[in-house]
């Protein structure tokens, strides 16, 4: 391009100040932000004299460090302290800076840009570095004064002014930006509520465990965090007065900060006809679809990726500058890591947890006493992701291993303890690594036990893992140093170490047994699953299919009416309230109280069988009817029909009360001594719907002939002339066990009361998936008698706890579902009907 030509079109004539004619190529930069200026810095470092540079900035400032806006908001830094390049830099490097004047159009044919103030300037090379625009959720009231985003200095000034005026603030968005805004506003004295639509905070960077810890920590600092909160509307008369959620809740606020995400700022490029996807498309040297135009920073899309953090910008700027001076250095994309900039709250995450190539493996370390959670995700012996909460000192080391894709097989066992530890031994054999550790090296972080102490304690006679745990507490809290302690045992005892573990742990996720966990839930008041996992140092991020259902039950049992059942921790049958069959269909068993039925129920069942083409209907071994072959989509409709005839779920699928089997009893039978049918119905009405460690069956026989097989049930009643003989712990099934005699009572009411107390004892003390028979074998019938028969006060307390719990659980799950609850469990997400012809073509 001819320079004279350029001069003539440069209406503002900034360059003319230079006096002499400048023959250098002219580089115009749109965006005086982090990427734009860094690109120029990189270029200057390579070839300072090569380009004449002009930078347009929309903001009225010199180049500052955007990420430090958070500390400015928090009052920890001033604007001057976050300036990267002050006026001197522009002057010294002969850069023309145009502030407060955004570029509004690019004329690619004429190679010129025009700004808002009407300035037109020619370019030889144009660099677009316009960053991102905050995403504003399109709710009513989004334009009210007092609703702002968090992107630039102006926003910070706005927030500081709002905080000085006092009042409450709502931050919409529980990601990095939102939490930093909330933190700053809290420090400035505002009462802050964070609304986050997802179930956990920072869900893109953190897993649920870390998200939960973060939430707890922020709440401890006085913030209100509402997860699963969907904003319906921002209301106010002329200015913001509050936010209304879709569930109707209203939160008053004089300031609303929207921090729900960013979108690459591409309008300018799109209007100029450049290739734009999610961002401005660039090649490996940041060149757009027009070879004279480059783009860098958050506004670009490279290889399908857009970035929202600074680290990738630095890499991009290097490739860009190399390209501008004619050196090949292709940009290949970036792996990113995140740190939350909230003083005293260390949160780090890096990499991707999804792992595409093959099975990923988690290493988890939790130290409840110090509030630490660390999780590394390995794939093929390489670190592919890391989440650190509470102690992020090794973040950069993990990130380094991750980026380099280093093989960590040799470090595997010590990796989670950090660089200092893992590099200490450095040997391939963990035993050798442990041997190489100094005596004061910490083995158990949870309890602060050194290697020397563990060895001393082994030498003093603690020859098993349990003995070590009992004496010096090493490995007693957190499963993850168990391997180390075992290495020390092997090292110290040599061949004498048997390597056996005595306590049966709940599952591989924890070093605690069922009883310890239950005790901890009650005594320490644990109310949520992530809390148990953290406090008891679970070694997996979210448990497994063994411990989750158990924990869910324990919480449900400990906090009736309070704990919210976790559907995803339920086995399919309990989640869908029907029994899964081998072909993936379901069977439906409505309750028939005490085995009784009537024409209306029978007709309804017959109708359902016909209406839904159920291939089979069968009388079960539990005295009721089972309808087979129902599809999950049809279940709610089937239930609605059965409900209409007065029937409810039979819980044939549940770790719950199943059936109460009865015989005809004194009503009809010539031998009957009591109304066994009537008592059976009463027992079933009392106990249906309760969740238990395992399934629970009751039977009532009208005389010792025992036609209801009461002596192989979990709770059995055999009626006799003088009253009711109660017996417990029977089992048909895999290993037949006849009941143990509990006691004899005189009245029906007593039979009911003893039954309730006994069920509650079983609910509170048995282990998950332990039926009453093995439970009683374990604790002994004498113990059960002592609690139920001999301790009258205790019995009454158990009974009333059971009835209290029942007051929350006797809602028919079927009618709730038929009315639309948990609809997504039964409906397909979408349906796909391929167009076959298209495929042939």
């Amino acid at each position: 391009m001819d320079f004279q030509d350029y001069q003539s079109r440069d209406s503002a004539g900034d360059a003319s100040e230079r006096g002499s004619v400048d023959r250098r190529e002219h580089l115009v930069v749109v965006g005086n932000g982090m990427a734009g200026c860094r690109a120029v810095e990189e270029l200057l470092a390579r070839d300072a004299g090569r380009y004449r540079v002009t930078i347009f900035g929309a903001e009225p400032h010199v180049n500052y460090n955007r990420i430090m806006l958070s500390p400015v908001l928090a009052g920890e830094k001033t604007f001057d302290e976050i300036v990267i390049n002050g006026p001197d830099w522009y002057a010294d490097n002969d850069i023309t800076l145009v502030t407060d004047d955004p570029v509004t159009a690019i004329d690619r044919a004429a190679r010129s840009v025009t700004s808002r103030s009407g300035r037109t300037m020619g370019y030889d090379r144009l660099l677009i570095a316009t960053g991102s625009d905050p995403f504003i959720i399109p709710v009513p009231g989004k334009d009210l004064p007092g609703v702002i985003s968090f992107r630039d200095m102006k926003d910070v000034d706005c927030m500081v002014a709002a905080a000085e005026a006092g009042g409450d603030a709502v931050v919409i968005g529980g990601g990095l930006l939102g939490l930093e805004a909330a933190h700053g506003l809290t420090l400035r004295g505002m009462k802050v509520t964070v609304l986050h639509i997802m179930p956990t905070l920072m869900e893109r960077q953190l897993d649920e465990a870390a998200g939960w810890l973060l939430k707890t920590a922020l709440e401890a600092r006085g913030q209100t965090i509402l997860t699963g909160a969907d904003t319906a509307e921002i209301f106010g008369d002329g200015k913001v007065e509050g936010v209304r959620l879709k569930d109707g809740r209203e939160i008053p606020a004089s300031l609303v900060v929207m921090a729900v995400g960013i979108r690459p700022s591409v309008a300018l490029a799109r209007e100029a006809g450049l290739d734009v996807g999610r961002g401005i498309k660039v090649d490996d040297h940041m060149v757009t679809s027009d070879p004279a135009i480059l783009a860098v920073g958050e506004c670009v899309e490279h290889d399908g990726n857009v970035y929202g953090l600074v680290a990738p910008l630095w890499d991009m700027c290097r490739s860009l500058a190399d390209g501008l001076v004619g050196k090949a250095n292709p940009y290949r994309g970036s792996v990113t890591s995140t740190k939350l900039k909230v003083a005293g709250l260390d949160v780090f995450s890096a990499g991707d947890f999804s792992g595409t190539g093959g099975g990923c493996e988690d290493i988890v370390l939790r130290d409840a006493s110090r509030g630490i959670y660390k999780r590394l995700i390995l794939q093929d012996d390489r670190v592919v992701g890391a989440v650190l909460f509470g102690d992020t000192s090794d973040g950069s080391w993990y990130f380094d291993l991750l980026r380099k894709g280093e093989n960590v097989a040799d470090l595997r066992d010590l990796l989670i303890f950090g660089q200092a530890f893992a590099s200490g031994g450095g040997a391939a054999d963990p035993k050798a690594a442990v041997a190489a550790l100094s005596d004061d090296a910490e083995i158990c972080g949870c309890n602060g036990v050194s290697k020397g102490k563990v060895i001393a304690c082994i030498e003093a006679g603690a020859g098993t893992l349990d003995a070590v745990r009992a004496t010096c507490k090493a490995s007693a809290s957190c499963g993850s140093c168990t391997g180390l302690v075992e290495s020390l045992l092997a090292l110290t005892l040599g061949d004498d170490y048997s390597g056996e573990r005595a306590v049966k742990t709940m599952c591989k996720c924890t070093s605690f047994g069922h009883d310890d966990v239950r005790k901890a839930i009650v005594e320490r008041g644990f109310r949520e699953m992530p809390q148990i996992m953290q406090e008891l140092s679970w070694s997996t991020p979210d448990g497994c299919s063994s411990c989750r259902p158990a924990l869910n039950y324990y919480l449900l049992c400990a906090w009736p009416g309070e704990y919210r059942d976790d559907q995803q921790s339920r086995f399919v049958n309990e989640r869908l309230h029907a029994n899964i069959q081998k072909d993936g269909t379901y069977s439906v068993v409505p309750r028939m109280w005490g085995g009784l039925t009537n024409p209306r129920e029978l007709r309804a069942i017959a109708d359902v069988v016909e209406k839904y083409n159920a291939p089979m209907v069968k009388v079960t071994g539990g005295q009721r009817l089972d309808i087979f072959g129902i599809r999950k989509e049809d279940l709610p409709a089937v239930w609605a029909d059965l409900n209409a005839a007065g029937m409810v779920s039979g819980h044939a699928y549940g770790k719950a009360l199943r059936t109460v089997k009865t015989c005809v009893g004194s009503e009809w039978c010539r031998f009957g001594t009591q109304d066994s049918t009537g008592l059976g119905v009463k027992l079933e009405k009392m106990s249906w719907g309760s969740w238990m460690p395992h399934k629970f069956k009751i039977a009532v026989s009208g005389c010792p002939r025992n036609c209801a097989e009461a002596t192989i049930k979990d709770f059995g009643v055999v009626c006799v002339d003088s009253g009711y003989e109660l017996s417990v712990g029977g089992n048909g099934g895999i290993k037949v066990r006849a009941t143990d005699f509990l006691c004899k009572v005189a009245t029906e009411q007593e039979a009911l009361d003893y039954c309730a107390a006994y069920i509650q004892l079983y609910r509170e003390e048995a282990r998950y998936l332990e039926r009453t028979a093995p439970w009683i074998e374990r604790v002994g019938i004498d113990y059960v008698r002592a609690r139920i028969v001999e301790d009258e006060v205790g019995r009454e307390a158990l009974r009333s706890r059971f009835l209290f719990s029942q007051s929350f659980s006797q809602n028919d799950p079927w009618s709730e579902r038929a009315a639309g609850a948990e609809r997504e469990q039964h409906a397909h997400m979408a349906q796909f009907k391929p167009i076959r012809q298209e495929e042939m073509a």
């Binding site: 639509i197 997802m198 179930p199 869900e203 893109r204 953190l206 897993d207 649920e208 947890f353 999804s354 792992g355 595409t356 190539g357 093959g358 099975g359 990923c360 988690d362 997996t540 991020p541 979210d542 448990g543 497994c544 299919s545 989750r548 259902p549 559907q567 995803q568 921790s569 339920r570 086995f571 399919v572 049958n573 989640r575 869908l576 899964i580 081998k582 072909d583 993936g584 999950k632 997504e824 397909h828 997400m829 979408a830 349906q831 796909f832 009907k833 391929p834 167009i835 076959r836 298209e838 495929e839």
Partner: protein, 112 residues
Amino acid sequence: MIGEWLDIGWLNEIPMRGSRTVPVDGGEEIAVFRTGDDKVFALVNRCPHKGGPLSQGIIHGHSVACPLHNWSIALATGEAQGEDKGCTPTIPVKIDGGRVLICRASTLKAAA
């Protein structure tokens, strides 16, 4: 024109640590999983063991426990873990603007 990706709905429609199904006309049903750390995977809804509907299993980490006989299947690869051997076809899936997209070609292949 038919795109490479099938838009099957909002991410939020899949419960966390849950799964939803997408039946395919003339083919095998697809199960779409969402894990506790908010990753999404799609597999043919059929256990390599005896065809159990994986969508109904308990999801933990990046695995699902089959509801029929408790095999553990890796969501990323479809492979049975531990002692068990077998593999379920996987379907590429991506999230765009909160929408879940599954790969059309793989979905069709599973249908074939």
